[in-house]
């Protein structure tokens, strides 16, 4: 019998041990949640049955099938070494596409991000997440790479910034925001925690200035710097160290003050109108009951009306009447919130959190830096999508049109996330086989 199982089982450990089935279970649970939600969101306006290929649910099932095939191919047939070899070429190719699409695509609500070949449409930005993650892993796992060195830092930063800039140029600023998540990967690989603090403080100062006034921001920032200085100065034993701390604190204060001063310019001149509106709506500076404000309002009403246990599958009144726009794509979480209540939302969020946790754990366990960095990249991408998307539906984030991974309707998005995750699974499996 053992002989018959033959070649595929010549390794020490079997499929059960080498593949992280918990990740796959999370993945499938999320996709199925998505299918049910897409069906629920459309069941009143789409008269087609769940499996009808004309309806959205049916189409998504078809895409799920395609994704599964791709998943299996990646997991069992493609040599995982390939992923460590192709990044530079793939990265450059996709970057080329990202730039090309700006010039050749049709204008869709102001953005230029879709290639169209007859009925087939695809967004290079979706694949770019994969290639950028691979490239970042390749760059940072190179022999002798040090993030602390200027050269190392620049190469990592450029790897992230190039596709990000191209996507901003496509007027898909929301999708570009996801790339900010790579900062967590860099942090894991040794980037100073001050970078994350810097990012957080910048956002906080920006919001504070917009909602209150510039002098409140400056005063608060000065107070924060002072508190930090007095708290830290004791641990600095030598005068030289103390002096350096003073200089650095002063520099930080000035940088913050400069940001406050530039806020007005950034907000009114750099941001586009619709982006500004979305931020204003989020911060409650402006009512926009017919535009973005309407979306968010209706979304929160739908979610809020779900209560603790929800109205039950297919019993949502808000999402099915089309009160919530984009209900099967970007605002799909409303359907979950309305029909399954807080309990359902909790389930979905825990599922994501557990999935990200598994990714991080698996990444940490791998010996190859490539696999580890790539795993963190996948985790960061998932996290950014999840947080921005759900944050948007509950009014914590501005309206940014990015999908909820595996759940939102959309074939290319599902395929991209499947590929992203299963490349990691393949890399992880390869390691588990040998170690």
């Amino acid at each position: 019998m053992r002989y018959g199982q033959g070649t595929s089982n010549t390794y020490d450990r079997g499929l059960w041990q080498t593949i992280d089935w918990r990740l796959i279970a999370c993945y499938i649970a999320l996709v199925v949640t998505g299918l049910l939600s897409i069906y629920a969101a459309g069941h009143s306006t789409d008269s087609a049955s769940a499996f009808d290929l004309g309806g959205r649910c049916g189409k998504q099932i078809m895409w799920f099938g395609i994704s599964l095939v791709v998943d299996i191919v990646i997991l069992f047939w493609i040599n995982p070494r390939l992923w460590e070899v192709i990044p530079p070429a793939a990265y450059l190719l996709v970057f080329g596409l990202l730039v090309l699409v700006i010039f050749v695509s049709k204008d869709v609500k102001g953005s230029h991000s879709w290639f169209e070949f007859g009925p087939v449409k695809f967004q290079p930005a979706e694949i770019s997440k994969i290639t950028t993650s691979l490239m970042l892993a390749a760059v940072m796992s190179r022999q002798g790479f040090r993030l602390g060195s200027p050269k190392g830092f620049m190469s990592a930063a450029l790897t992230i910034a190039l596709p990000m800039a191209a996507i901003v140029a496509e007027s898909e600023t929301g999708s570009a925001l996801v790339y900010v998540g790579y900062i967590f990967v860099l942090y894991r690989e040794g980037l100073s925690g001050w970078w994350i603090a810097f990012l957080g403080i910048s956002i906080a100062l920006f919001i504070l200035t917009l909602t209150t006034s510039w002098w409140i921001s400056v005063v608060s920032w000065a107070a924060a710097c002072l508190v930090y200085f007095t708290a830290s100065v004791r641990s600095r034993r030598s005068l030289m160290l103390r002096r350096r701390l003073a200089w650095r604190t002063a520099a930080a204060f000035l940088a913050g003050a400069a940001l406050v001063g530039a806020t007005d310019f950034l907000f009114h001149s750099v941001l586009q109108d619709h982006q500004r509106t979305r931020i204003e709506v989020l911060l409650g500076m402006k009512e926009d009951p017919t535009g973005v404000g309407y979306n968010v309002r209706q979304s929160m009403i739908a979610i809020g009306s779900g209560g603790l246990f929800g109205k039950g599958f297919l019993n949502g009144t808000q999402t099915t009447y089309g009160f919530v726009p984009e209900q099967s794509t970007d605002f799909i979480f409303c359907t979950i919130g309305e029909e399954h209540g807080f309990v359902g939302s909790l389930f979905v969020i825990l599922l994501y959190a557990y999935m990200i946790y598994r990714l991080v754990q698996d990444a940490e366990r791998s010996r190859s830096p490539f696999t580890r960095i790539y795993g963190y990249c996948v985790a960061a991408c998932l996290f950014m999508h999840l947080f921005i998307n759900i944050g948007m539906t509950v009014g914590l984030m501005p309206v940014i049109g990015i999908p909820l991974p595996m759940i939102s309707y959309g074939g290319s998005s599902l395929l991209a996330f499947s590929t992203l995750i299963f490349i990691f699974l393949a890399l992880h499996r390869q390691e588990s086989k040998y170690f």
Binding site: T45, I303, S305, G307, T317, G337, F342, Y357
Partner: protein
């Protein structure tokens, strides 16, 4: 804590932030649940019954009746027996098929909305449908209140209501699509009183838009407030009679109660039948195509030369200005020679005449002398100045300006100014002989039948009028105080008696000259009248007659204006006389039966 754990802690914190937010909006905060119930509540409008319009004697002119619309929610419709439904609704299978195909074609746009399949289904069809309704899920009947008219009286003056359109809603934001509003006539003028206030029932619906239950057992429902009833000054029977008399003739009759200014009848012919009014939508093309413009309310919108009835005013102005004494007599030899060779013709009568007789016989020549004296009065430096002074007098009689009636779309008519003639002929290059036709109410004078009727009321009142109006005080509605005020003309009331005397003689004879309106005499009632025949540049002369009765303490003043009907005594006089007689005695005397018969049967078109 290593970096991995810090990141995982961050992940946990972010998840907690989202969950906390979700917990707040889903479990703690009720605000969003309230709003959601708004979204899932169905407001079913209760339309208030529109106010009823009564006539002066308590008869209903416009009431409400019930009809049914058949609605269909295409998405709820299953397989059904098309033939059975067609029979139940008195329609054809083809019609149903065609409609259902249309709904199928636009199903995404329609969604769960109900569509109106048939409008204004009569009661008996509704009953037939209601019995079988269970067989046709998705179809239902909705009650609707429509206007009903017990009398075929006053189509034009009552006006119609119709569903408001986008333009209307933009101008009147308190209306919504599906509401009805008065568009013309009384319905329009009294819209605020008649419309009432809408109410609503609130129902809850489920995710498939099925109505589940009344929201909070109907506690939040709002009842509709019915529209206020309106009492019109119109006498429904008189109005109807006037319409019958005017049938087949183009023109107007207006009857006013002189002691109050209340309009008793207001006939514009050809007019709109009330059964057309109640369903104006389906008759619109037909109405618009009619060359005699039945929608055009001639009583307030047509401006005619008043003709000889205007002589009354010229005479009275002459008396007031002191250029005429009642005893003055002027010769008339077949007319007035305003140049050596040009003559304004007059008919055969004895000559010379005094003022009273000139009125009675309607002598053209006499009033040319009168206007000549008015315009060439030494008191004024120029004819132009004198003309403007004359115009002031005329305006005080309610001509050349809007009377300010409560009836909508009143026009002002026209009384020429000196500057008008200055423009026409050049300053100082015209004189009395140029405008001689004003003497006999011709030329540039335009007056509406309402203004002419108001003149009859002024004569009846011997020098003042109340603004003619069509709505009376009623419970909950008080008319404007301006309708209670006497409006005096600039001519002293003492001069009127002679003119009234002339009008009396015109009807009853007894003067030195021929009387023009003898046929208007009603046995036992002292009728005063004045005929007019207005030249019409567009065809045959228009026929005019004004009258009032009784001579002392007049109860009714009538003006009749029949277009292209020839001599005033022939057509306008019988119409006005018959209406007056009908109103005062309730019947037509033996001597006028033949006249009535002729009037009812003669139709010019």
């Amino acid at each position: 804590m290593n970096r991995k754990n810090r990141l995982l802690a961050g992940l946990g914190a972010a998840a907690l932030v989202l969950l906390a937010r979700l917990f707040v909006i889903q479990v703690i905060d009720d605000e969003y649940k309230q709003d959601a119930s708004n979204n899932s509540m169905v407001y079913s409008t209760i339309y208030p019954p529109r106010g009823v319009i009564y006539d002066r004697n308590g008869e209903i002119l416009v009431g409400n009746a019930v009809c049914y619309d058949i609605l269909v929610t295409p998405r709820d419709v299953g397989q059904f027996d098309t033939l059975a439904l067609a029979q139940a609704l008195d329609t054809t299978v083809e019609f149903l098929r065609e409609r259902m195909q249309y709904y199928r074609k636009y199903r995404t746009r329609i969604g769960y909305q109900a569509q109106t399949l048939l409008k204004r289904v009569p009661q008996q069809t509704y009953v037939k449908f209601a019995e079988l309704e269970y067989m046709f899920p998705g179809f239902r009947a909705q009650m609707r209140s429509i206007r009903e008219y017990p009398f075929n009286a006053g189509g034009n003056l009552l006006g119609y209501i119709s569903e408001v359109d986008a333009d209307y809603i933009e101008k009147h934001p308190d209306y919504k699509a599906g509401d009805y509003a008065g568009k013309t006539g009384l319905e329009y003028a009294m819209e605020q009183e008649l419309r009432g206030e809408k109410g609503y029932h609130i129902y809850l619906r489920d995710s498939r838009n099925r109505v589940q239950s009344a929201y909070q057992d109907g506690l939040q429902d709002k009842d509709a407030v019915p529209g206020k009833d309106i009492v019109s000054t119109i006498d429904a029977h008189l109005q109807q009679y006037g319409q019958q008399l005017m049938e087949g003739k183009v023109g107007s009759v207006v009857a006013i109660e002189p002691s109050s200014g209340e309009i008793l009848a207001m006939v514009s012919s050809p007019g709109i039948d009330v059964d057309v009014l109640s369903d104006i939508g389906s008759h619109y093309a037909e109405i618009a195509a009619n060359p005699r413009k039945p929608m055009f309310n001639r009583t307030v919108m047509a401006s005619y030369p008043p003709g000889s009835v205007f002589k009354l005013i010229n005479g009275l102005v002459g008396l007031q200005e002191g250029v005429l004494e009642p005893s003055d007599s002027y010769p008339c030899n077949g007319g007035y020679y305003y140049t050596a060779t040009r003559r304004l013709r007059c008919h055969e009568h004895s000559s010379p005449l005094k003022f009273r007789d000139a009125i009675a016989t309607s002598c053209n020549g006499y009033f040319c002398y009168v206007l000549k004296d008015i315009l060439e009065n030494d008191r004024f430096a120029t004819t132009a100045e004198a003309l403007d002074a004359w115009r002031e007098y005329v305006l005080s009689f309610g001509f050349g300006r809007k009377l300010g009636s409560d009836f909508p779309s009143e026009l002002s008519g026209n009384i020429p100014t000196s500057s008008y003639y200055d423009r026409l002929y050049g300053k100082g290059r015209w004189r009395f002989s140029t405008v001689v036709s004003l003497s006999i109410g011709q030329g540039e004078i335009g007056a509406t039948p309402l203004q002419i009727a108001n003149l009859a009321a002024i004569m009846a009142n011997r020098g003042y009028y109340y603004i003619p109006h069509i709505v009376k005080d009623s419970e909950g509605f008080r008319i404007d105080d301006k309708y209670r005020k006497r409006n005096y003309t600039l001519v002293d009331t003492s001069y009127f008696e002679t003119a009234v005397e002339g009008m009396y003689m015109a009807v009853n004879g007894g003067g030195t000259a021929g009387a023009t309106a003898l046929r208007a005499a009603i046995p036992g009632i002292e009728v005063c009248g004045k005929t007019g025949t207005a030249q019409n540049p567009h065809g045959k002369d228009n026929s005019v007659f004004i009258c009032f009765a009784p001579k002392d303490n007049p109860k009714i003043a009538v003006a009749a204006y029949v277009e292209n009907a020839g001599f005033g005594a022939t057509w306008a006089l019988p119409v006005a006389t018959l209406m007056m007689e009908k109103y005062l005695t309730g019947e037509i005397s033996e001597g006028h039966r033949y006249m009535e018969q002729t009037m009812l049967t003669t139709k010019f078109f």
